[in-house]
Symmetry: C2
Subunit: 303 residues, 2 copies
């Protein structure tokens, strides 16, 4: 194989992958080669542009560390994450819609008792969250594991605060015998995704804003069901119509109800304004290997 031209080079690369033992890997690399060569032939990059692309990808990798995943941000802001999400969640009636995992999930959040306050001094107005985990047909899923994580009232996650060395506004709860859970937190704000890296460079160069509407992340798991990765969005937030990662779904927008003083549902006497939300999450039955592969995908996600 020698002397390839702008067309024959593609077949040469496809031929080089012919002996790949794993048929799925061969399928992926064959499709990747075809689409990426078509992209290159379409834009006809100069050497300078090719080199800029190499540098962009290199810097994107080098910004990543245990608290930051710039390639996930890139996937998010190019709509790839939500496309992969849509492909993997053709959801049946009665189940909650999904959205992006995002770059801020951390493995090992503290397991807390129901009713705990996860805010640990982070800023924001008090928020009482209660929810229920059910199957698509409405059966309560006792003991479901609920991971939650969110920004504070100024739009910051704990991992973005270098002066903090403990986790906050993230926890793991277990649903009670009726599939119910509740906890105290603070009302999150809309926020910009990290803007000082390569993804920020792309957003600036394309006159795109970096903001996401206010939301709380949930990852809910129960044996026999697919893990549910989703958000609840604050119905009053800015940016619901132009989330920079394309993650908003109408069914995930909920009222964060305004309350003033009085008694909270858990009997706590409230002094000043606070908020409350309530949501029922429906889980999709596991489809054998699909559930297994999602679970294994999530396990290393923040390792």
């Amino acid at each position: 194989m020698r002397d390839f031209d702008e067309q024959t080079i593609t077949q040469a690369v496809l031929t080089s992958f012919e002996n790949t033992p794993d048929p799925r890997l061969r399928q992926i690399l064959t499709s990747l080669t075809r689409h990426i060569h078509d992209f290159v032939r379409d834009i006809e990059p100069s050497f300078a542009e090719w080199r800029d692309c190499v540098d962009f990808l290199t810097r994107t990798g080098q910004i990543c560390d245990e608290k930051r995943q710039e390639f996930i941000l890139l996937s998010d802001t190019l709509g790839i994450s939500m496309l992969v999400d849509a492909i993997n969640h053709r959801m049946p009636e009665g189940t909650t819609e999904t959205t992006v995992l995002g770059p801020f999930f951390v493995v090992g959040a503290p397991a807390l008792p129901l009713g705990a306050d996860i805010s640990d001094g982070m800023s924001g107005e008090p928020l009482y969250v209660e929810g229920k985990v059910v199957s698509a047909s409405g059966i309560p899923l006792a003991g479901a594991t609920i991971d939650v994580w969110q920004s504070d009232g100024e739009g910051f996650y704990d991992v973005q605060m270098p002066e903090r060395d403990n986790m906050a506004l993230r926890a793991q709860f277990s649903a009670d015998a009726d599939g119910r859970f509740h906890f105290w937190s603070v009302r999150p704000s809309f926020y910009p995704i990290p803007y000082d890296g390569t993804v920020g460079d792309m957003l600036k160069a394309t006159s795109r804003h970096p903001n996401r509407p206010a939301h709380i992340h949930f990852m809910i798991r129960h044996d026999g069901y697919e893990p549910l990765v989703t958000h609840l969005f604050d119905a009053e937030s800015l940016y619901l119509d132009n989330d920079t990662v394309f993650g908003v779904k109408d069914s995930l927008i909920v009222p964060f109800e305004h309350k003033s003083s009085g008694t909270a549902p858990d009997g706590k006497a409230m002094d000043g304004s606070w908020h409350a939300l309530n949501y029922a999450f429906g889980l999709k039955p596991a489809a054998g290997s699909v559930a297994a592969s999602v679970a294994s995908a999530l396990a290393p996600a923040a390792a």
Copy 2:
């Protein structure tokens, strides 16, 4: 913009790039979005596969340092580099064909006088290289700048030898008034591209070998001409027919002539076997901004 499905997400991302001030950047990102979304819809990745891809790209970036560029290797082994090369070098009659820059070019190689020996103790049989730099119509290009870099007789570049702290088997020469140059080196070997990173993982998983046929890199520049980035391949080398980066062209395969003792062309008395090669390089006239953009692409290439 909310509630995208597997098809409408693509238009949402394209719309987000509509206000990009630079029309070329808008064109590139529009084409990238279309092709990458088509790729994702084609392969329907699981979450685990998407996460594996994020991890692969992250590790690829993190392996890069001032001596190693894994994303260039990835581009090379997917045939992207040679495709970009082909698009940028639709060469007129009388000019030398081009091939990949590769990951081992280093800015700041020593400027040496004609006739110098660049091997500096690196292993291999002596090789006498002589050449000539001419225009497409055969006019000698006096004073042309010739960068050369190559592996040793065991297939290693200086930058792959952690115990070395000085450059070897790389230099910069200036052609004489007749466009001629000559220097001493060693006969290079075929070699594997770096195999211990993400690109090595890909080659192993696809049962591809990592080898390139023996070659010497040249980058030749002269005012008014496009920089020429090419190799000369040893006609007796293994892997000429299956270079792992798809870089071989028949016109770049030359005899590394066997000699035994006697007197070299520069008058040096030789004791034992040595080799000699001779090649005339034809440069393409600069086409305004094309030459400028190639030059600017090469300048930061090893920064």
